[in-house]
Symmetry: C2
Subunit: 390 residues, 2 copies
Amino acid sequence: MCNKCNTSTLTRRKFIQTTTLAGAGLMVANSSNAAAADKKPQNIKTRGYAATDESGVLSPWEFERRPVGDDDVLINITFASICHSDIHQMKGHWGPQQYPQVPGHEIVGVVAAVGKNVSKFKVGDRAGVGCMVDTCLECEHCQGQGEQYCPETTFTYGYPEKTSPSGISQGGYSTNIVVRDHFAVHIPDHISDQEAAPLLCAGVTTYSPIMRADFKPGDKVGVAGIGGLGHMAIKLAVSKGAEVYAFTTSPDKVNDIIAFGAKEAIVVDDLSKLAPYNGTLDYMIATLPVHYNVAAYAATVKPYGFYTQVGMPERFELTMNAIGLSFSRANFNASLIGDMQETQDVVNYCAEHNVLPQIEVIKAEDVNKAWQNVVEKKARYRYVIDASTI
Amino acid sequence: MCNKCNTSTLTRRKFIQTTTLAGAGLMVANSSNAAAADKKPQNIKTRGYAATDESGVLSPWEFERRPVGDDDVLINITFASICHSDIHQMKGHWGPQQYPQVPGHEIVGVVAAVGKNVSKFKVGDRAGVGCMVDTCLECEHCQGQGEQYCPETTFTYGYPEKTSPSGISQGGYSTNIVVRDHFAVHIPDHISDQEAAPLLCAGVTTYSPIMRADFKPGDKVGVAGIGGLGHMAIKLAVSKGAEVYAFTTSPDKVNDIIAFGAKEAIVVDDLSKLAPYNGTLDYMIATLPVHYNVAAYAATVKPYGFYTQVGMPERFELTMNAIGLSFSRANFNASLIGDMQETQDVVNYCAEHNVLPQIEVIKAEDVNKAWQNVVEKKARYRYVIDASTI
C-alpha cells in the first residue's frame, strides 16, 4: 500500500471521533475541558488487543481508561505499531506480567479531550505517545537528564498505575488512551499518522544515541540488526552524514539496506564476516533484541570507540566476552529510548528530513501473525496496526 | 615479614646466580654473549611448579627453556607472585590447556645471560617479566597501540611457542626464564624484587586504565574487588589524587582499605549497599575475576561515565543487564594488562612514588595452599613465591 497516503487516515480519524468517543461514555467532541463537562468523571470505555497469559497470544478485550484528569489528554488512536519489546514483555521474557495486558508504545491518534490545565494540546490535534505515560516530573531526571530515568516512570504498558482501572498501564493496541499531556507529542502536518507511529519508540530509541554520538559527516557508522529499529538507525545515521555499514543476518534485506542509504550491507551468516571490519568504524549501534556475540560485533569499532546497545534481549541480559572486549577497547553502553524532548525532536526531524520508516499497515485481527513474522525476522520493517480495525 | 628488606633477596640472588646457573648447563656468569659462549646452544634446564591437569594442583617439574637467542635474555628468577589468572588458566576456566604447564606472569629476577644483539640489559641487571614474552613487533599494535593486542602475542604461559621445548610458553613459578629482551623491563634500585613482582601484572593492569582515565585530583573513583589488583588500584588512584571508594565483599578488609588511602570502604554484602553511591563516581575500575552484577556496580558512575573491567572471570564471560546499564548510561569497557612501555612505567612510577603492593612471601611448597586462599579471598594481598625455594 501507499504508506504516504493520508486519505484513509482522515476517514478513519473521523470515524473514531464519532464512534469510539460516543462509545467511550464521554462526550467531549465540542469541549476542550473534559473535567468541566462532567463533575463526576467516568472511566472511558476502550477496546484493545490484550495478552492473557505468557503464550503472548493477543485477543480482543474491552477495558476502561481513567477519566481525563486536569493534566490529561484523551487520544483516539488511529495507528499503533509493533515493537519487538511488545512481544518480549507479553511473553514474560522480561519478568512476570499482570494480564490481561494491552501492549503497544508507538501510538498516534487525535486528541479528543483535554483536562482543564492543558494548554499544550487542543481537541483535534494529532498527538503521539511513546514508551512513557507518567513520571514524577520533579526529580533531576525529569528536570533535564531524561524522564525515562525517573525512578517513578510509568512505562506505557504493564506498569503499576493507580489511576488505571486495571491497576496497570495499558498500551496502544487499542482505540484510545489517556495520558498526562507532558507525555504526548505533536505530530507535524507533513507526516502521516502511520509513518509517525514507529518514530515514538523505534525512532527515538535510535535517534537519541545517534544524535548524541560523536561522529562527523563522512565517518563510518555501523548498524547491527536491521529490523524496525535498525532500518531507522541506518536512515538517521545517513541523514547525519555518516557512511553506514549495516550488519544483518538476513540476505534478502541487502537491497533494502542499500536503498535505505547504507554504503554496505554485510550478511553476517558467520561471525568471521565481521573480521574485515574490525577496528574500522567510528561508532556502532546494535539493535539486536536477542543474545548475540557482543564482543565480536564491538570489535568493529575503532580502539576506544563507542558501541551502543538499544535492542533489549530476553531477561535484558547480554553476555559478553570480557577479554574480547578488552582487545577491541570498545566502550559498550546501552541506551534507553530517549527523553520527551527527544521524542518530539525525532518526530519533527523525521518529518522535516523525510526520514520515514518503511511500514506495512495491518488489521488488528492479523496482529498475532505479524508478531510471528517479527520473531521470524520477516517484518519489512514495521507493522502498523490500523486502530479502526480494533 | 618485612617486605621492604632486600637483604635476603640479595643473598638469594647470589645463591641463584651461582647454583641455578651452574645447574642450567650454561656458564655465562662472566659473559654478556651467550651465543658466543657455545656455538651449539643447548636448552636450559629449569625447575618449576606445574599443573598437570585441570585439578590445577601444582607439583615440582623439571623442564627446559630454549637456548638464549640473539635477542634474548636469560633471567634467573628470584620472586614470582600469584595472580588469580594463574588459577583460572590452570584449571581450564579459560579453555582447555596443555599440561604440564607452569603458571606465573609476575616475575622478577637477575639477568644471567644476554644474546649478542641485546643492549637493553647486561648480566647482573635486575629484570621483570609480565604477561607477554613475544609478539610480532611489527604490526600497528606493536608499533604503538600496545603489544598485548598483537594477533601473534605469546602470553607468558600456556601459549604455543615454537622455540619452547615443551611447545608452549612456560611461566614464572620456576627458577629461570628466557625471553626476548623487549619483553623484560628494568627494576629500579629503590624497589625490592618481591615488591616489584606484583607490578608486572596486577600493577600494570590497574595502572594502564587508571592513568588513561579522565579523572582529576579530588574526583571520586571507585574500585570494586579489593584483592591483588584492587589494592593496587586503590593505591594508584590515590596517588593520582582521587578520592577513592572501595567496594569489597570482605568486611575484614575494611581497615586495610582505609590504610591503603581510600576515603571509604563499602562492604557489599548485599547489592543494596551500592545504591547510595549510584550516579556519584567519576570513574570506576572493577577487578572482580568472577561473575557479578555488572550493571548494579556500573550504576555507581555518573551518567555517561566510564567503568573499566580488568578482572577476568571464568570463560572470560560477563553477563550484564542491558536495561540496567541503560539506566546508568555507563560506558563499560575492559582493559587488558598494558603495553610494554606501561609495564616499565608502572614499575618506575611505583618505585618513585612508593606505591607498593602488600605482599606475603611464601615457599614454593606452599603454593597450592596459597591458591586455595586466593580463591577463598584470604590473600592479603599478594602471595609472592620465593624462587630460591623451588
